[in-house]
């Protein structure tokens, strides 16, 4: 490089004092937008406590469009219990042990939920993997007893896993 060229480059740099300083304002704007989006979209709830069985094939169901019944161990106990709702809150656990009584309790809950929220078009059973088929079948029969569930689809919650 000849010396006159060096001089030219130096002059150019003097004309651009901001050179090398990036304007980060748009980046901060975008970051705040993303942050606000994820704050709104994310939901903190204890539903992760349900240890769902794994499967490769899963369809996505909107949480707000479905009535949920959880079958699984409670946080304290060791027995599998049925929870009529989205959390393992002991206050919504089915206390009955007789299959017919369980069916009735589930049917009553489903019927009540679906008549209060007719826009919900799905019933979701979130059963833990180690639950016996018999208990899940009791819940399914209870759901079938509720008249309003006939037009609704029935789903079993899973955790998607690639194989």
């Amino acid at each position: 490089m000849s010396k006159t060229e060096t001089q030219l480059t130096l002059k150019k740099r003097k004309q651009n004092p901001d050179d090398g300083e990036l304007d980060i304002t748009p980046m901060i704007d975008i970051t705040f937008l993303l942050l606000a989006f994820f704050v709104v979209v994310s939901k903190m709830d204890p539903q992760q406590a349900v240890d769902l069985p794994r499967a490769t094939f899963g369809v996505s169901v909107q949480d707000k469009d479905s009535v949920v019944v959880i079958v699984g161990k409670s946080e304290t106990g060791t027995e599998n219990q049925i929870f009529l709702g989205r959390s393992k809150d002991p206050s919504i656990a089915v206390t009955a042990t007789d299959p017919d009584a369980i069916e009735d309790a589930v049917a009553e809950y489903i019927q009540g939920e679906l008549s209060a929220n007719p826009e919900k078009d799905a019933v979701m059973i979130k059963a833990e993997g180690n639950v016996k088929v018999g208990l899940v079948e009791t819940v399914r029969k209870g759901i079938a007893q509720a008249e309003l569930s006939e037009s609704r689809k029935l789903y079993a919650g899973i955790k998607e896993e690639q194989k």
């Binding site: 010396k3 006159t4 060096t6 001089q7 130096l10 003097k14 004092p17 090398g20 980060i24 980046m27 901060i28 970051t31 705040f32 993303l34 942050l35 994820f38 704050v39 979209v41 994310s42 939901k43 903190m44 709830d45 992760q48 069985p53 794994r54 499967a55 490769t56 094939f57 899963g58 369809v59 996505s60 169901v61 909107q62 949480d63 707000k64 479905s66 079958v71 979701m124 059973i125 833990e128 993997g129 180690n130 639950v131 016996k132 088929v133 018999g134 899940v136 079948e137 399914r140 759901i143 079938a144 006939e150 689809k153 029935l154 789903y155 079993a156 919650g157 899973i158 955790k159 998607e160």
Partner: protein, 229 residues
């Protein structure tokens, strides 16, 4: 902290006058003496610059400066703007807020919420409505026309896969069950899958059987029984 040229030590008094002003800095017409015979004079001087002695340093840096080069320690007092200082914090004017920590915290929050976001979507497998008593009558009629894959899950969580024209085959593991179902679908092309599960089998095994059927695009029926196999 100011990075102005005034922070730097005074000019080396031994520097040649040609370095003093910007105008004749690159002026070749100013004789420096050292450029007269580069091969003899300049090269040994550069090699000498490797040895740093208190008094020799000044002399060597002077000699390569005279060729128009600049060393790392040499301040260019001719520039109006402060020299580019890497690793040094630039002075922020009083009226401007330093946003760097805020951006750092914001990114942390962003990553946290991205990771914990659940999107309120639940992955699930469609299930047939609960089996009623009429369903079993239906199966009786179709007993001879076995156009379906039958998967039995017994009380010990073992799979038995039966497909048309084939014997019942035991599949102790989920992988074997999946491959047996896949074989049956490839060979006979059934459209339905009937899963018969014992009430004491686990829900996870039933879901895996449903999953195998879903992957093969089969319509799924589920029956439960409390009769031991």
């Amino acid at each position: 902290m100011t990075d102005g040229p005034e922070d730097y030590p005074e000019n080396d008094p031994q520097q040649p006058q040609g370095q003093g002003s910007g105008e004749n800095r690159f002026d070749l017409s100013v004789p420096t003496g050292n450029l007269a015979n580069p091969s003899d004079a300049a090269r040994p001087e550069i090699e000498k610059s490797g040895t740093v002695t208190p008094d020799g340093n000044a002399q060597t840096s002077e000699s390569y400066k005279s060729m128009g080069w600049k060393g790392i320690d040499d301040q260019d007092e001719n520039e109006d703007e402060p020299p580019v200082a890497f690793g040094k914090k630039e002075k922020i004017p009083e009226d401007e807020l330093d946003m760097t920590p805020m951006v750092d915290v914001t990114f942390l929050l962003l990553i946290f919420f991205m990771v914990t976001a659940s999107f309120t979507l639940q992955k699930s497998i469609p299930q047939p409505p609960a089996a009623s008593d009429e369903a079993s009558l239906n199966v009786q009629q179709e007993e001879d026309a076995k156009d379906y894959v039958e998967v039995i899950i017994d009380q010990n969580n073992t799979y038995y896969v039966t497909s048309r024209g084939d014997e019942e085959r035991e599949a102790p593991s989920e992988t074997e069950m999946r491959s047996l179902v896949k074989d049956a679908v490839d060979t006979f092309g059934p459209e339905r899958m009937v899963i018969t599960a014992h009430v004491d089998a686990t829900h996870a095994r039933l879901i895996t059987a449903c999953d195998a059927g879903q992957s093969a695009n089969l319509a799924i029926e589920v029956k439960t029984t409390d009769v031991e196999f």
